[in-house]
Symmetry: C2
């Protein structure tokens, strides 16, 4: 079967399946994003999480941990070239922990994930190590990260940069001689930090001004 036809068939099958997540439906806040993404013929979303706070309770050790995990999307791509484009836009839009997975049968998936996380140990062998005031502060910090994450997702990536990149790609493919430059408003830090092109492990804080290595031992 032709690759594009097979992909369209998979897309229809996947999007018509029952939602097997714990909530049983797509989380509020990610619905619009998914609807926009699924209008593009090159992709479809296979799973999503708008972001969440988790309390991980290590009963055996009495070590509780509070985690905040940002929005994650898994997107199946028609071909590697589509995944490359999507990955490039994701990294430029501060979803820097995104990465491609290629299955043995050539199924190409992009996991889209930002660096806006938190992972905070709260107790040690059953003893609470922090105050209630600190826990309130943490929850507030997680809430702010969630808002920032949502802002990046909606206004920057899905309604601006990705559609523009896909349009440029379409124009370039139709008229191979046209070599448009990236729109600078969609690549805000590219020139400042070329290491970002690899999409991994550049510590990030909006207000960061100093960064110190702490003695490892």
């Amino acid at each position: 079967m032709d690759r594009s036809v097979e992909f369209r068939k998979q897309k229809v099958q996947c999007l018509s399946k029952a939602d097997l997540s714990r909530k049983g439906c797509v989380a509020e806040g990610v619905v619009d994003v998914m609807q926009v993404l699924n209008t593009w013929e090159q992709f479809f979303t296979t799973s999503s999480c708008v972001g969440r706070k988790l309390l991980i309770d290590g009963k055996a050790s009495g070590n509780e941990v509070l985690k905040f995990e940002p929005l994650v999307l898994h997107m199946q791509c028609r071909q590697l070239q589509d995944a490359q484009l999507l990955h490039s836009v994701a990294v430029d839009s501060d979803f820097r922990n995104s990465g491609i997975t290629v299955g043995k049968k050539g199924m190409t998936m992009l996991a889209v994930w930002s660096t806006l996380g938190l992972e905070v140990p709260l107790s040690n062998q059953g003893k609470l190590m922090v105050t209630e005031e600190y826990i309130d502060f943490l929850l507030n910090t997680a809430h702010q990260k969630m808002e920032e994450n949502k802002k990046r997702t909606e206004s920057f990536w899905f309604y601006n940069c990705l559609p523009r990149a896909l349009e440029r790609e379409t124009i370039t493919n139709s008229h191979p001689k046209i070599k448009e430059k990236n729109n600078p408003s969609c690549s805000p830090k590219k020139e400042r930090n070329p290491a970002k092109a690899h999409g991994k492990r550049i510590p990030e804080e909006n207000d960061k001004e100093m960064e110190n290595d702490v003695d490892d031992d």
Copy 2:
């Protein structure tokens, strides 16, 4: 130029370059790993960090954050097929945040990264929110994660699973009719958690027994 020849040339050039990292040399603990990895003709390491603790000091807002980041390796791969194999072994070996990047010229890179992180806000607008005892506890927790990370890296992935997978691949390619099953000792959680195949976002704690979503608002 033949792809394999070009790749070997790039490898030689890259590995003979001066080290431009802040430390000016490869960190102790990752040297052996890199030496082992660079013996395989399919890959070479382009950057590495054995893991680090960072104090991020937001001077503008007075918000200090302590981060622990685990080992990260960037590996250039000869072709996509090699990256697929490496990615699969990495995910099965609990380096679950690993992902492939494919450049426009077909340069294929794998970023290898585990989920063993910490990100803990310490102060709010200049006010320290935690005790010194808690900071000691955090540093100790980060140290334990570093040890766990090293253990996974050395004994599990580089000296066991990856070499075995590469040998299986060589045998299968030489004798296409041989379809060996995965070695169960190198895929410890594959059957328990099929979602892992996507390589992203499965919360993980050695001692986790319960996991609760916390109200997002």
